[in-house]
Amino acid sequence: MLQKNDTAPNFTLYATPDKEISLADMKGKNVILAFYPADWSPVCSDQMALYNETLKYFEKHDAEIFGISVDSKWCHQAFTESRNLHFNLLADFEPKGAISKAYGAYDEKEGQSKRALFVINKEGVIEWSFVSPNEENPGADGILEALENMNK
């Protein structure tokens, strides 16, 4: 898995059925990438639902978060609507898992992204990365700590 000081590989992925997002377009902004196994995991402990509540804390650090899984753009759209999410979920769908693999965050056996977090600075360099077990939601504290440490 990519680590601190590695250059974050660029990507262009669908966020909605008619919108693509590139990491390169985010230069000048801090970026949080949250790779996760799949949409539709159990409700009250859902990682994306949690980040949906912590966006304002990320914004304080001029950081934008993207969720990434191998689910399709249509699946992401339904999940986003169902959970009232206010940030983009990216579809690492075709070729399947290519970006997850580039970040070293792909589980070959399960055929899905690992639960991995990356904080990328305004120059596109990884400042912090973390992987947690598939069934364990890592929360937001590690991300916030990484963002704070960057600005020191």
Binding site: E53, G139, D141, L144
Partner: protein, 171 residues
């Protein structure tokens, strides 16, 4: 993962505040798992009340649960009239009814000054208390609700696991 900040005088505390066992729950009044945990927590307090300090901090997932924040405001407004836990219990025991008229009905049953209750629900200080609670949860590594902390450390389990551990440790 440990609790930040520690239990302090802004918290709602139930049980014996000098007890050896301190349990902090981060919860959401609209979360079904929190509703399910409620009677178990009540059982813990009832059985071990003299050995346990119980604290509840708000962790409303407002985007997913549209009435969670309103419910937290109602409980905090009742606290101003000294009836925090009574309102807390009324809300969890009637979790399918979380509209503002439901909170007012609870307040009437509890004998609160209704005008004051309604005004207090909109206080900035209450909004800030809920935000402070939420932020303390984020800082402490809360990743969903309910999350429990025992003596300042995140507890890896649900209310039933907690009851079992307490039964084991104080038996």
């Amino acid at each position: 993962m440990s609790l930040h900040p520690e239990v302090n005088k802004k918290d709602h505390i139930k049980g014996d505040s000098s007890a050896n066992l301190e349990i902090v729950e981060f919860g959401d009044f609209q979360c079904g798992h929190c509703g399910a945990a409620h009677p178990v927590v009540e059982k813990i307090i009832k059985q071990f009340g003299n050995q346990v300090t119980f604290v509840f901090r708000n962790f409303p997932l407002s985007e997913m649960h549209e009435n969670a924040r309103g419910a937290a405001k109602a409980a905090e407004a009742a606290a101003i009239q000294g009836k925090y836990w009574e309102m807390h219990n009324s809300i969890f025991e009637n979790q399918e009814n979380l509209q503002s008229n439901d909170f007012i009905a609870h307040a009437e049953k509890l004998g609160l000054d209704i005008d004051k209750f309604k005004n207090d629900m909109e206080l900035t200080s209450i909004a800030e208390k809920i935000d402070t609670d939420f932020e303390s949860g984020i800082r402490s590594g809360v990743n969903g609700t309910p999350s429990f902390f025992v003596n300042g450390n995140k507890f890896d389990g649900d209310a039933a696991n907690l009851l079992a551990v307490i039964e084991g440790s104080v038996a």
